[in-house]
Symmetry: C2
Subunit: 339 residues, 2 copies
Amino acid sequence: MISPVRWEGDRLVLIDQTRLPSLEVERGYTSWPEVAEAIRSLVVRGAPAIGVTAAFGIVLAARQSRATTFDGLLADVEAAIKGLAATRPTAVNLFWALERMRRCCLDHRTLPLDALKARLLQEAQAVLDEDVAANRAMGAHGAALVPHRARILTHCNAGALATAGYGTAGGVIRAAHAQGKVALVWVDETRPVLQGARLTAWECVKEGIPHRVISDVAAASVMARGEVDLVVTGADRIAANGDTANKIGTYALAVLARHHGIPFYVAAPFSTIDPALPSGDLIPIEERDPSEVRGFAGRQTAPAASPVFNPAFDVTPAALITAIITERGVCRPPYDFSR
Amino acid sequence: MISPVRWEGDRLVLIDQTRLPSLEVERGYTSWPEVAEAIRSLVVRGAPAIGVTAAFGIVLAARQSRATTFDGLLADVEAAIKGLAATRPTAVNLFWALERMRRCCLDHRTLPLDALKARLLQEAQAVLDEDVAANRAMGAHGAALVPHRARILTHCNAGALATAGYGTAGGVIRAAHAQGKVALVWVDETRPVLQGARLTAWECVKEGIPHRVISDVAAASVMARGEVDLVVTGADRIAANGDTANKIGTYALAVLARHHGIPFYVAAPFSTIDPALPSGDLIPIEERDPSEVRGFAGRQTAPAASPVFNPAFDVTPAALITAIITERGVCRPPYDFSR
């Protein structure tokens, strides 16, 4: 299994996703600020993977702490929570995982500090294990929606690399492939960071899943040719009404799928749902550096003098989403995740 | 004025568009096979510019010819027509310009060969001059459709670089800008060859037109935010019923514009219309090398083992086109270009 985030001995190990597909490099981390930088710089990305990584970031913060009292340790942990929370604003799994680690810390305040640190490691590992289990459950629920000889279009990477392993949308594809149902996966390259071309295509090659990479702009043509049976993507945050923030370009695919009468599915664990937000227009959308759009891998493409708008995510209204696949089952509209 | 195609002394001079925006390089051509290669490799691109370039390619073929009889010269010209016609299949201006040069040759068969060659140069120059005049007329007709403080979204490059100068869709923007109507141009980067980021943004910088470059996938978000008043693109071939082939990604924009209630305009000279084709599904769509999608600015992005689908154009059904702006005026649906 592809394990983009794992604990090994006394350190967190991440696959460096900025180097894929050219190089398969792992990096070890023993301090939380390095982990925050890894999240910020996309060494690790994907809402569930960010959540799991942040949980281990808190483990490292506790282990780095020289505090001799619970209050001292808690202060160090809170500082790390603040630092890790400031890395990326859109994916809610990050905040969910940090809150879970804070809760774990507070719930075990009476333990000796070494035992508390061990308990935090156990909790982070549980976040990881539960994520993989949730993905497998999503895969099973989602595969039931996939027809035989399906041509599936996906965007960005919501595969094993975006999670603790197996994948959300990628898990649905993986499970359907295991059942012999997948004729072809259309892989949107996903500008500007190319997670589709670099990561999803790499996973497909690794797993022998039949696929073709397309420029994002070609998705509409492929739909018009009748060569897409369903679209499935992941999510970075789902509002209580089902509005879904995901990688920039997802919303366009949902509009195009509706225009062509193609089902459009979102696959995400419950940790991606933000019941506190009534609708998607309240989801904060990260804007990333213009250099991502002005060039790639160090090569400039647009004039340096050209202003750029580079939102990393967009919001797909619930009305365009055929169903949301979760680990608890398949949700159909009208969505209500407010409780 | 930006002149991507021009005749100078005894040679054809092209701006090498593959080097923009980093380098402004001109290249001289004295033989038609080099011109064919320049078209194939996108040194020159854009339907009208390809047509003008091919016309001068025929001038070079005639000048290269060592024939001493009209029939000998015609045979050499026909070979060049065949070679130039084989470069790119979708833009009809190419075939239109070559046919016009063939007709000119046949119409002047009684001239001494040197005079005939001079007449061919005169004809190619007329193709060029008429293209610029048509663009200026399109600009005037199109600018009348542009509201004050307009935010205009465009795709690929249909500017001066795509024509003999001034531009089709780019000409509409240029004319509206000259009238003080343009608040902002949203420039789609236009994967895989990035004509938007590289060429349209370069033209905007040169002319001081306010603009912002976006990844193609961000166009839907910008529309949803209410920040696009109209979309205008060029065309590579327009069928008799108004169905329009243009750069891959245009069709998606037309669907998105319709979804958001935004007018979608096409600007193209009559030489882009193919009255012989009843509908767009008959337009041949060029598929280009997978390396365009597997890499970016010379860097490999997708795994070498990943198959790719790389159509260079798509077809927008006439029903999604608010109006077609030509040098003769603005055409509204139902379109009928069969005569």
